[in-house]
Structure formats: C-alpha cells, structure tokens
C-alpha cells in the first residue's frame, strides 16, 4: 500500500465497520423484538391453558365430593388423582406465567409491613403434608427480635415455597429440612437473611450458577424424578432482586444444600419488634 492510498483505505475500512455496526444493531433489535414476542406468547398461552384446566379440576371435584352421587373408594381415588395432576399442571402454568411477566418486566411489588414468621408459618402449613408423606423432619427457627419488614408477602411466600419445595423434593426419606430467619448487617444497611436448608442430595459447586438459569436442571435425569418447569429458581432470583436483595447457595454434592436470600430493610427498621 502506498502512502497516497492509505487515507482512502482507512476511509473504506471505517465505512465497512460502520456498516457492520449498523447491521449488528439491526440484528439485536430484531432479536429483542422476537424475544418480546416469545415472552408475550408464553404469557398468553399460560393464561389460556388455565381455563380448560379450571374446568377439568372443577368437574373432577364435583365427582369426588359426591355432588352427583357417591363414588366407590377406588373411583374416588382415581378422581382424586385427576385433581392432583390438574393442580400440579396449574402450578406449572402459573410458574411459566410469572416467568414471562418477570422477563417482560411486568412484575410489580405490592409491599406491606409483614412479619416474616407469619409468611414462613403459612408456607410451612402448605408443605406439612408433603414433609410427613416423605418422612422428613422440618424445623423452623425465627429470631425473636426481627422487626417487621416492608415487602410483598405473596412474592416472599412464593420464593420460600419454591425453596422449601425443592428442599423437600431433593431430600431422601428420613432427611432433615429447615428454615431460619434473622436480621443481619449492623452497618446501617440491615437486611433480613432467610435460609432454607436440607440434608439432601446436594449440588456440585460447578453447578451453583446453573441452577438459577431458566429451564435448567442440573441433572437431565432429575427432570424425570422431580417434576418442574426448571423456572422456579430463576423466578425466585427475580423476585428477590425486585426487593433489592440477593440469593445464593452453599452446597456440595451429597452433603445437602443451604439456600440463602436477603431482603433489605428500606430506611431505618424499628429497633424492636412490637409486642406480639
């Protein structure tokens, strides 16, 4: 290349780069548009799936409850299984809907002053029959001096329910599952720290990031043993982050798992919990 050609060559190179840049920007915009369409499709289809499921479950409950005549015990067992399957499917559809809303930034918080012990109590009650069925021991420890926190009770319950459900799912019969809550951070930025732990199968450290990714289950065979959309922890992370908190885990393969999440107190929290 001669000195005379150099500016021309540079100009032509610059022009090629600009053109590539525009093409890349166009592709990104197109992909974002398609991703938004996919998210909207997920939200729409999840909503539409609920209607026939509602009909299936309600018709089956009419039969189970003997409204159209008494069933034999085996008929009742069979219909009860239809209802359980339907409710399981409904839960998964709900999870996809929540994920789609989260991906589209359509999830909003409705915070109130809540006592974490109440939320944990509710989630515990919902899971007690499963714990008993698997022969697990569930213990709950909530520090006495935790002040109420400004947070969305339904969404915190969703996160807790997901973590506790996983803990129960991935812990063999006879194992231990626990939930604890305490206040941490004394440097003027206090948070609520909640732990959900289990003595179950554990997760290898190299998979710790993977579990929070959408549609991921660490072991492909796990999806055959443990039902789920693979969205639970992705949604849990989204809901915790919406509150300004973070979520992580400590675990080794074969040594159980401990999931932690924090919810920061907004402004100065009350120094002491009001009398119960």
């Amino acid at each position: 290349m001669t000195r005379v050609d150099a500016p021309q060559a540079l100009e032509s190179r610059l022009s090629a780069l600009e053109s590539q840049h525009h093409e890349a920007a166009r592709l990104i915009a197109e992909l974002q548009g398609r991703d938004a369409l996919k998210t909207q499709f997920l939200a729409n289809i999840s909503h539409d799936l609920r209607t026939p499921l509602t009909a299936i479950i309600t018709h089956a409950e009419i039969l189970r409850d003997g409204i159209l005549g008494e069933l034999t015990p085996r008929q009742r067992d069979s219909v009860t299984s239809i209802i359980s399957g339907g409710r399981q499917l409904l839960e998964m559809v709900g999870e996809i809907l929540t994920y789609a809303r989260g991906a589209a930034d359509q999830l909003a918080l409705t915070p109130t002053e809540l006592r974490i012990a109440d939320v944990i109590g509710r989630v515990r009650t919902l899971n007690e029959s499963l714990v008993e069925k698997k022969g697990l021991t569930l213990s709950v420890t909530v520090a006495d001096d935790i002040p109420p926190i400004h947070a969305d009770a339904e969404k915190i319950a969703h996160v807790l329910g997901n973590l506790l459900g996983n803990a129960i799912d991935f812990t063999p019969p006879g194992g231990r599952v626990w939930v604890s809550a305490r206040q941490v951070g004394s440097d003027g930025r206090p948070s609520l720290l909640i732990e959900v732990g289990d003595s179950g199968i554990g997760i290898a450290p190299e998979h710790h990031d993977l579990v929070f990714r959408e549609f991921a289950q660490v072991d492909a065979s796990a999806s055959r043993q443990h039902h789920g959309t693979g969205l639970g922890l992705t949604i849990a992370r989204k809901l915790v982050e919406l509150h300004g908190g973070s979520i992580w885990l400590e675990s080794q393969l074969g040594e159980g798992s401990r999931f932690f999440f924090t919810i920061p107190y907004r402004g100065a929290p009350p120094q002491h919990a009001p009398p119960v």
């Binding site: 909503h47 609920r50 209607t51 026939p52 499921l53 509602t54 009909a55 479950i57 309600t58 018709h59 409950e61 009419i62 409850d65 409204i67 159209l68 409904l90 909003a108 409705t110 339904e154």
Partner: protein, 138 residues
C-alpha cells in the same frame, strides 16, 4: 257447596314456594360454566349463564340475580363493566363476586373498588365455593 266453605275457598291465599335463588354465571368458557352450573343446580339454586358483558347486562335486566359470578376477561370487554351496566339499569345483583385467573393484588383492589363482595382465583375448590355461596346467598 255451603256458603261458608265457598267464602273460605275465596280468601285462602294460593301459596307457591319461593323460587330458588338465581345464580348468574358470567363466563365465556362453556366448559367452566357447565361445571359451575352442575355445582349450583345440584345444590338447589337456579342458574343462568351469560357468555359476555352484553348478555350479562340483559340477564340482570330480565331478573336481577341473587348472586353474579363474574369472569373478568370476556369477549366483548372487561367483566366489571357488566356490573356497571346492570347498575345503570337499576338491576344490580344482590351480591357480585369476581372469579379470575389474575391473582395479583392490583386486580383484587380493582374488583373490590368496583363493588364486588369478593375476588376468587380460579379454580376455586368446589366445596369452598359452595360454602361461600351459602354465606353470600344466606
């Protein structure tokens, strides 16, 4: 026939049993409506089904129901506009309850503000729905 007996026959009121309470199901899914119809008819209520807002307002104008169970997403608009439409015609249901798949607090507040007595997330367990209906229709 002696006069006395005739007089008695003239003044005796003709007693007809009160009609069972009317439940109006505003629901565009025929499958869901059929389940709810069985549930209420088998427990002694009369049932009418309206698949959209216009049919719901017309049904209320024809006979205001004791209970209107209202789906929120209807082919011709927001379910709550059926309640507003019935009120505008002076034919409001005695009790209106929203039944919806949207379980977010915003939807709940919107329904209560519009005059619904309660907001239930579908599918409401059959027994639970009957227990609550007994309270609303009580």
């Amino acid at each position: 026939m002696p006069p006395d007996d005739a007089r008695t026959a003239d003044v005796a009121p003709t007693w007809t049993p009160p009609a069972p309470p009317l439940v109006l199901l505003v629901e565009d899914s025929a499958l869901v409506a059929s389940a709810l119809r069985i549930l209420f008819e088998e427990t002694g209520r009369r049932v009418r089904v309206a698949p959209d807002v216009a049919a719901a307002v017309a049904a209320c104008a024809d006979e205001p129901p004791a209970l209107m169970l209202l789906d929120l997403t209807l082919p011709d608009g927001d379910g709550l506009s059926a309640l507003a439409g019935a009120r505008a015609r002076g034919a409001a249901p005695r009790v209106t309850v929203a039944m919806t798949g949207h379980d977010d607090p915003g939807t709940r507040q919107r329904c209560l503000a519009a005059g619904c007595a309660d907001v239930l997330v579908k599918p409401v367990p059959a027994r639970e729905l009957l227990r609550r209906a007994a309270e609303w229709l009580g």
